[in-house]
Symmetry: C2
Subunit: 301 residues, 2 copies
């Protein structure tokens, strides 16, 4: 359980990446703003903690061992996730005087925006971004009030008073635990079967739920849910442990699918997709940083 005691500090992982990149403890130390002895000791204690030699030291520099290469690649993923966290958190704190004020739906803010912000930061360092997250109407209100420069929403329609461009699609997929009978079916599920089955769902009013309701209206209508939960995370947890399927955004379950904690159940003849849109007040085409961010988002999902 105490993961933090078995995984090196973020600072140590960054240092390791610097050693890999620069080929010497001393240079890596300078690059990360510490002294050479500090770097030396930190790498050493990381090796002690992991029980694996990571770098080959020599009087001419330091190189990663074979194990070190692997560990460094795994470390890179942690650091990248931390960068996304940082980009998101910065934007969340961002003051109203930011150069680029973004308003986004929860799903987009959760899964896509941090990556875009990392890319933006790489290409235009120093662009101060602020982020507001809320539902579609709240995003629209912000834009119309002039309190945001660019919005992102998912859903079937563009809110009144806004122009928009489709930047990607979000597919809703049926998921079940690997142990669930549906995971072993040979024939595709039918829409009617799906409609008739009590599912684990977000509460009524969520965007996902609306799309699902609409799509199954012609197939007998959605059965009463087995369980209604307030957050996507809670739904995922319930699907994994309980024995009922759910319908979730593919953005939300990518991780779970690759780790096989959840399995996607194909459904015959049912397209549960919703567009992801960038939106802005009618007539005011995005310019400057907003235009640049918009360019980064094409082809999302």
């Amino acid at each position: 359980m105490p993961l933090a005691h078995r995984v090196p500090d973020l600072g140590a992982l960054e240092l390791l990446l610097a050693v890999a990149r620069l080929g010497s403890l001393g240079r890596a130390a300078r690059a990360t703003g510490i002294t050479q002895p500090a770097a030396s000791s930190r790498i050493r204690s990381m090796e002690r903690q992991l029980g694996v030699a990571l770098v080959d030291r020599s009087p001419r520099g330091s190189e990663l061992t074979d194990a070190g290469v692997l560990v460094t690649d795994w470390a890179r993923r942690v650091v990248e996730a931390a960068e996304a966290f940082d980009a998101g958190a910065q934007a969340l704190r961002g003051r109203r005087d930011s150069r680029l004020r973004v308003a986004a739906s929860m799903t987009i803010a959760e899964y896509l925006l941090p990556g875009w912000l990392v890319a933006l930061r790489a290409q235009r360092p120093g662009t101060a971004v602020s982020l507001f997250a809320g539902n579609s109407s709240a995003v629209a209100a912000r834009l119309l009030a002039g309190e945001a420069d660019l919005g992102f929403v998912e859903g079937l329609d563009v809110p009144a008073g806004l122009d928009g461009a489709v930047i990607g699609r979000d597919r809703l997929i049926v998921v079940a635990a690997p142990a669930h009978p549906w995971s072993r079916r040979r024939r595709e599920l039918t829409a009617a079967e799906l409609a008739a089955t009590p599912l684990i769902l977000r509460e009524r009013g969520s965007g996902t739920r609306q799309v699902l309701d609409a799509a199954l209206a012609g197939h007998g209508g959605l059965a009463d849910p087995l369980l209604e939960l307030a957050s996507t995370t809670a739904v995922k947890a319930a699907v994994v442990s309980e024995a009922a399927p759910s319908v979730l955004s593919e953005l939300a379950v990518g991780e779970e699918l690759t780790a096989r904690r959840l399995v996607e159940i194909p459904v015959a003849g049912l397209r549960l997709v919703r567009d992801l849109r960038a939106v802005w007040p009618t007539g005011q085409r995005p310019a400057g940083p907003a235009r640049h961010l918009l360019g980064l988002t094409r082809g999302a999902a």
Copy 2:
């Protein structure tokens, strides 16, 4: 640059997840093995560091704020990456007396195995796994010497003396920087064009290079590379900064594609795929933990 100073500790992120899950600082504290005041102070200093209120405290418990929900979701990604790191590192240290000894090619060990190990740990906690990473022939040698129970290789053929099962495919894709002319082409690239262009590549002998050589043999043969580098990471960095394309495993560039640091260039009529295989000594079908891990890997990539 000093990312670690702006992102909370892994321990703090874990604690935040526990608060989200359990709805109270005190319970979260107990769950993570610290006392309530420690948790209180840690969450508070995280809020100070991020400049955002994360939890609403009340005498009846604590709930995440709207911003807290977002931050927690981003934190979850960091923690999941750390879990993969941990699972990998544990296996790397694993002693020879492990219950399951895995040998895998570098690509698979880097990108796929940690996720499988996390899944395995969730389903069969306490299965001690050890990992050896090397090229196909080294993996084969381990298996044939009885020093490994299950192997994973990518490539065109099954090494002699081994049986195997295809568990997925790895597609090699042409990538370029967004600023590169190929990223703006309207017409698909032809195989002959690709063959005639000097690329940034791994050194001769790497698996990727072999597949590429074979596939382009009928299209005039691969031109001399512009640059030959020793690691996939170095190749990616060169493609991003230099003005030349490369051909890389889609496993290696997933992150870069979604962040738009790299762009995939479609090529007409060229299928650069290689199978990912689980392998074992002829006749000795995997049993026990090996069989279970094998089950987790189906449908990879």
